[in-house]
């Protein structure tokens, strides 16, 4: 198929940036979206132009690196996937596709479609861990039975890949789904209880400091999340936060 691509080009963080049109032809429906971008980039290099910078790595939907905003949707027009899992069979011959970076104050653009998501890391530094020594002198793992339901729920929350689709898709650029998932994982497990109150306060505080917006219960984040992280996690974080605030 032949396609028109409208792509955000921005040389560096301080550059103004603009949409630029490109044509690609003979795109197979079996290609992934990123493979289509590879084809474009090879053509640009052959023409002596600079290829489009975009983030990607594992290309199997798990590293959370790829991050395009395609036709107004994070990771494009399919549910439950990342951009690398998006296939060209979702498009048809003659389509025009708009490709932009994830836009949020807390995700500054580095170049073209590449954004800086280190704010997510800093939220984790603030408390996204259990304070256990890594010396290996821990108790036997089965000495701490955990109900299957709790373990499964914690696993569901822990499935978050930190891609930032929730932020990109939220009208407030809120990170509540991401932070909610992290808080939930530890709140659901017995190991995380001791410092649960400090953790949620610190992480929420850091989230605010990074410039993420607030949650207004629109729920777009849940719909666009490639890993199906549920809004329940935001509710759990709010309740954990309330509990911790009252305690404090």
């Amino acid at each position: 198929m032949n396609l028109t691509l409208k792509i955000w080009r921005q040389k560096g963080p301080k550059d103004k940036g603009q949409m630029v049109d490109y044509q690609v032809s003979d795109i197979s429906e079996h290609m992934s979206f990123l493979e289509m971008m590879d084809v474009l980039n090879e053509e640009l290099i052959a023409r002596g132009e600079e290829p489009v910078a975009f983030d990607h790595d594992c290309r199997e939907g798990i590293c959370g690196m790829c991050s395009m905003f395609i036709n107004g949707e994070a990771h494009g027009p399919d549910r439950g996937i990342t951009t690398c899992q998006l296939h060209m069979r979702m498009f048809k011959d003659g389509d025009t596709i708009t490709i932009e970076p994830f836009r949020a104050k807390a995700f500054p653009v580095i170049k073209d479609l590449v954004v800086d998501r280190s704010s997510f890391d800093r939220i984790q530094h603030a408390g996204g861990y259990i304070s256990v020594n890594t010396s290996g002198n821990t108790q036997d793992a089965n000495a701490l039975p955990i109900a299957k339901e709790a373990a499964d729920k914690a696993m569901d929350a822990a499935t978050c890949i930190g891609c930032g689709a929730c932020v990109a898709t939220c009208k407030n650029a809120s990170a509540m789904l991401f932070v909610g998932a992290k808080v939930s994982q530890y709140a659901l497990l017995p190991q995380g209880q001791v410092e649960a109150a400090d953790r949620v306060l610190a992480m929420v505080n850091q989230m605010d400091e990074e410039g993420f917006g607030n949650c207004t219960n629109t729920g777009a984040c849940e719909i666009e999340c490639p890993k199906g992280i549920s809004l329940e996690n935001i509710a759990r974080m709010n309740s954990e936060f309330l509990k911790a605030s009252l305690k404090g």
Partner: protein, 672 residues
């Protein structure tokens, strides 16, 4: 330096070696640890866990990742699980049995003492990860659940759905975060190590490029740990992440670290088949699927052709017309034979013309009987009498979904077919590299003060890696082995003081890094980096892939050399050097692969035996029970091939570490 000293403790029984060793090594007093800096390159399972533990111990850690966050390291993509000899299932597991399975599975090409240590600390890894909040699967009693994996007769694999690597990595990442918050780890994201700096014969720092600004930086330390993963991307198409590269490992090789067994590559049997030339990478489907999936191709050639033409669906082929070739050839292990055996058997069937997709490179992985079996079991559990066929299928699908749901979803997204309803198509692909930097028992390379851990080193897996053992080795090295052994070396460095970066050694290393970057930016040739990478990949897959022969390997060596020469004349790299430039990053990595590929072929040529994932066509069993199977040659090849760099890869000099097997009798592997 020509003599390889494995430093395996002598005069103690195998099971006591690690304990005795730990009792005797030098320790660094906590106050002195604060005076010591350690650089860790790579922050996957091995580098992440090492960084966290070294920081926990009190060292100042500088950790480097080419991604934007340690959480994205490719360890995250490991699906199936992690082995540990906990014997929670009471099915007869023990340290010895895990050790035995690993040495045997590696075709007796790994170091006994290292593997025993790995088995010993494996149990501890699970305790550690659970304490960190890793949500492993549980049974209804709240205890940890286990499953079994290819090549093994006990259930010792711990898992977190099909995302075990992800959860273990996030565990290590969270441990790192705690140390970053404490200021004990200084994290350098989006940085790539481009050279090592050696002062007075010791590793004392690295030259790194900031991938955002292009700035070339000098970083010093008392020791350097390489945890940069494997080199599977030498094949261009592999299951590795796109950015996985060999640069850090290759750079230390060029500065004196011997590179061991480069030809040992694991070809993973259960990947999604290739669909076209544009393809950028291959996707693995966890091997755990082989617990419940049965592998087959049609028995009749007319069925194969009808399937390829779309006239027949696999579900329409009767049971008696299916060739469950693994169950037929290897009745003892069936669909759970080790990866190399499963891979070669698939290739054999496809080469014989029985491949079921358009390219003729695919076999079926079928869940129909598992769905039926689970469905019937569920009907019984739930007390549903006379359950209809549809109801049984529905119940069975639910169980299969709970076990492998994310994998099935991934498959459906890529192939656009529902694997619950129609068998998956799979084909082998390059996955894990067992070869890597040679290290001694301390995990130190032949450069004093330079260590290599995880997939970056050669140890533990021998010529083949069993399922669920990569995660185990990464975390064992990082959490429990290196943090001890490095202390033994650093104990001599407590009076050294801060290492200056303002020396001629740093000047020289930085200069050569800059020259290379300038070359790429200014060359303005006619071919892109990917053009060369794809060509290299094709040579590697065709001549250094699942099966190899002398003639092919010789041709590969000369073709790679010629390709490399052309690369240095005709490569083009757009963009500038003082900015984010993904093409420039790729150029440096492919330049290294173009050297490593030749050494790979040279090593394969030299090893005239079939072993592990490496099938040498000249070395095959001619008769008896094992007729047609790979033939290992213990008399002549029971050694580690460690290559010393001498300029051109073709001129590398071979050093042999003879392997001793005192506790295990070398036996032919038989899965019949």
């Amino acid at each position: 330096m020509a003599i390889l000293d494995s430093k395996v403790p002598q005069g103690v029984p195998l099971k006591d070696k690690w304990t005795t060793y730990k009792d005797k090594i030098n320790l660094v007093n906590p106050a002195n640890k604060r005076l010591i800096d350690v650089i860790v390159v790579g922050t996957g399972l091995a580098g992440g866990s090492a960084s966290a533990t070294l920081a926990e111990l009190g060292y100042n850690v500088k950790a480097f990742a080419y991604q934007d966050s340690p959480r994205r390291a490719h360890s995250i993509a490991a699906q199936g699980g992690i082995n540990a000899a906990k014997n929670y299932q009471g099915d007869g597991d023990s340290f010895y049995r895990l050790f035995y399975d690993t040495v045997k599975g590696g075709d007796y090409r790994s170091r006994e003492a290292n593997v025993y240590r790995l088995a010993e600390v494996s149990a501890n890894i699970i305790d550690q990860c659970v304490a960190q909040g890793v949500p492993f699967a549980r049974d209804y009693g709240g205890l940890l659940d286990n499953r079994s994996f290819g090549g093994v007769l006990v259930s010792r694999t711990f898992y977190a759905k099909g995302q075990t690597g992800q959860q273990l990595l996030l565990g290590a990442y969270s441990a790192m975060n705690r140390q970053i918050a404490r200021g004990k780890i200084e994290m350098f994201n989006r940085h790539e190590m481009l050279d090592i700096v050696i002062v007075d014969g010791k590793a004392r720092g690295i030259i790194a490029r900031n991938l955002v600004t292009g700035e070339i930086e000098r970083h010093s330390a008392h020791a350097v740990v390489i945890a940069s993963g494997g080199y599977g991307n030498v094949y261009f198409l592999s299951t590795n992440a796109m950015g996985s590269n060999a640069t850090a490992a290759w750079k230390i090789h060029k500065k004196g670290a011997f590179f061991a067994n480069p030809c040992y590559t694991q070809i993973h049997p259960t990947c999604i088949p290739r669909s076209g030339d544009y393809q950028s990478k291959l996707t693995l489907m966890s091997e755990s699927l082989r617990n419940d999936g049965r592998i087959w191709v049609p028995k009749k050639m007319e069925d194969v052709l009808a399937i390829r033409e779309g006239k027949l669906k696999p579900t329409q082929i009767e049971e008696e017309d299916r060739d469950y070739y693994l169950e037929r050839r290897y009745p003892a292990f069936g669909n759970l034979v080790p990866r190399d055996v499963a891979s070669r058997a698939a290739k054999e069937r496809c080469d014989a013309g029985y491949g079921v997709n358009a390219t003729g490179e695919a076999v079926y992985l079928d869940f129909k009987s598992a769905i039926e079996r689970y469905g019937k079991e569920q009907a019984k559990i739930q007390g549903i009498s006379n359950a209809s066929k549809e109801r049984i299928t529905e119940l069975g699908e639910k169980i299969v979904e709970a076990k492998y749901g994310n994998l099935f979803q991934m498959y459906e997204k890529i192939v656009d077919e529902d694997p619950y309803k129609t068998p998956m198509m799979i084909y082998p692909a390059t996955h894990y590299t067992m070869g890597g930097i040679w290290v001694d028992y301390n995990l130190m390379t032949t450069i004093p003060g330079c260590y290599a851990i995880g997939e970056a080193n050669f140890s533990d897996h021998g010529a083949n890696r069993l399922g669920a053992s990569a995660l185990m080795q990464g975390l064992a090295d990082g959490y429990f082995v290196l943090p001890y052994t490095i202390g033994d070396y650093l104990a001599d460095d407590i009076r050294t003081g801060k290492i200056s970066t303002d020396t001629k050694e740093f000047d020289e290393a930085e200069k050569s890094v800059r020259e290379r970057i300038d070359f790429f930016i200014n060359n303005k040739g006619e071919h892109s980096v990917d053009y060369y990478h794809k060509k290299l990949g094709k040579i590697m897959w065709e001549k250094c892939g699942m099966s190899r022969n002398e003639e092919g390997l010789k041709t590969a060596m000369s073709e790679i050399k010629a390709l490399r020469e052309d690369f240095w004349k005709n490569v083009t790299v757009p963009g500038g050097k003082d900015e984010m430039n993904p093409e420039l990053e790729k150029a440096g990595r492919v330049a290294d692969f173009l050297e490593l590929g030749e050494l790979f072929a040279k090593d394969a040529l030299e090893r005239n035996e079939s072993c592990g994932g490496h099938f040498r066509e000249e070395s095959v069993e001619l008769d008896g029970m094992q007729k047609g199977e790979a033939k290992r040659d213990d008399e002549n090849y029971a050694y580690v091939a460690a290559w010393e760099y001498k300029g051109e890869p073709g001129d590398a000099v071979l050093h042999k570490e003879e392997l001793e097997f005192k506790d295990i009798e070398l036996k032919q592997r038989s899965y019949k």
